[in-house]
């Protein structure tokens, strides 16, 4: 009897089916229907429309992950093998981690329908899963890029100017995120359903740490793509490096919007959706560039 191998793309199809069935089959929350004055059918149409860009994003992430997986198999025994193995693992965590919180959230919503008091707990659980995904994937990706630059003797230490710019960028990001999250917390029942101290200790600080790891990872990749030898290799690696930059930036922007959504009540819904679609488009472009860059690197190993 032949055993069907569960490749990342097959996992994507399975998980997408589960998410779609759950999203469309679960009964809608009556409070939501009442709040937006919509029927059950309209609700399901909206959910289906929202699922399309999300499904595209999941597909792009699984595709980039599967390309990295194929590429790292060619590198067996080389200096870059350990680095790309980790980078692939980081992308894998991101790929599965983008889709799993949605499925968990849908499953928890079944419990929420039976017990209204479970709603905040469901939100907290889903948010912590999303946080863990970003934290683990960015840390693993950073670890991989660190090995990559350490394997290259030609890479010089980052300049003081570069470090200053990096510090400034991160400080600005940290201050804005902290301000926006706490401001939202004061304005309304924040998206995380936590009081101020747990919010700061278990959400803001871990997110800022994860983003720091993500930005260091982008910086390492950029450094490697500048100093690595090989005209054709550099060209292929450039796509991967810019793709990763866009992916990390979009991931940060997405979380930024999610955490400050409560403060955007006065902004038109269309504007918020437009911003989210732009971020998803950047995310998609980043993942697409990563996949194409990896495809080019893989071709070098195949000829």
């Amino acid at each position: 009897m032949s055993v069907v191998k569960l490749t990342p793309m097959r996992w994507f199809v399975i998980l997408l089916l589960i998410a779609t069935v759950l999203a469309l089959a679960l009964p809608p929350d009556p409070a939501t229907l009442k709040l937006y004055h919509i029927s059950t059918t309209t609700y399901r149409v909206i959910i289906a429309l929202l699922l399309i860009p999300e499904a595209l994003l999941w597909y792009a992430c699984f595709f980039a992950y599967s390309k990295l997986l194929e590429y790292s198999r060619y590198l067996g025994g080389s200096k870059e093998h350990r680095a790309f193995k980790k980078i692939t693992l980081g992308m894998g965590v991101l790929a599965y981690g983008l889709i799993l919180p949605t499925i968990v959230s849908l499953l928890l919503s079944i419990l929420s329908h039976h017990s209204e008091s479970f709603k905040p707990s469901a939100t907290i659980i889903t948010n912590y899963i999303s946080l863990l995904v970003v934290l683990i994937s960015f840390s693993v990706l950073r670890g991989g890029t660190q090995i990559l630059i350490e394997s290259s003797r030609s890479i010089k230490r980052p300049s003081l100017r570069g470090l200053r710019m990096f510090a400034l960028l991160f400080t600005v990001l940290a201050v804005f995120f902290t301000y926006a999250t706490i401001h939202t917390h004061h304005l309304s029942n924040n998206a995380y359903r936590l009081s101020l101290v747990p919010l700061m200790l278990t959400i803001i600080i871990p997110y800022l740490y994860a983003w720091f790891e993500g930005l260091v990872c982008v910086y390492n990749f950029r450094l490697y793509s500048i100093y690595v030898k090989g005209v054709l290799y550099k060209k292929a690696f450039f796509g991967l490096s810019v793709g990763l930059l866009l992916t990390v930036i979009a991931s940060i922007a997405m979380e930024f919007i999610t955490s400050t959504i409560g403060a955007r009540k006065d902004e038109p819904l269309g504007f918020v959706v437009l911003v989210l679609y732009i971020i998803i488009a950047i995310f998609l472009a980043g993942l697409g560039m990563m996949a194409l860059g990896t495809k080019k690197l893989k071709k070098i190993e195949e000829v």
Binding site: Y74, L75, S78, K79, E80, S151, S152, V228, K229, G230, V231, L232, Y233, K234, F237, K296, L297, K299, I300, E301, V303
Partner: protein
């Protein structure tokens, strides 16, 4: 461990690394094993000559830039005709 290695092999890898970076060694190993059926570390200048057409074909699949391919082949031609010392110590 210090071991005696083939100078031609390492010069070939060095030239290739200007085009294929860290993938150069794997690329040369593949070309030698697949087309010459021999240990890559034991290649000679004559082997480099034999490999040139295979390498041209392979690199042409990676880029449309013919000048780049010709530059690479030009360097391989020089290597195949250069006077090379028999061996070198390499870590």
């Amino acid at each position: 461990m210090v071991e005696k290695q083939n100078n031609i092999y390492w010069r070939l890898v060095d030239i290739t690394s200007h085009y294929l970076g860290p993938a150069a060694e794997r690329f040369i190993d593949r070309q030698v094993q697949n087309h010459l059926n021999k240990d890559p570390k034991k290649i000679t200048q004559k082997d480099v000559e034999k490999l040139m057409d295979w390498i041209r074909g392979a690199v042409s699949l990676l880029t449309d830039n013919e000048n780049l391919v010709e530059d690479y082949i030009g360097e391989l031609k020089k290597l195949s005709k250069d006077k090379i010392s028999r061996g070198t110590d390499r870590k």
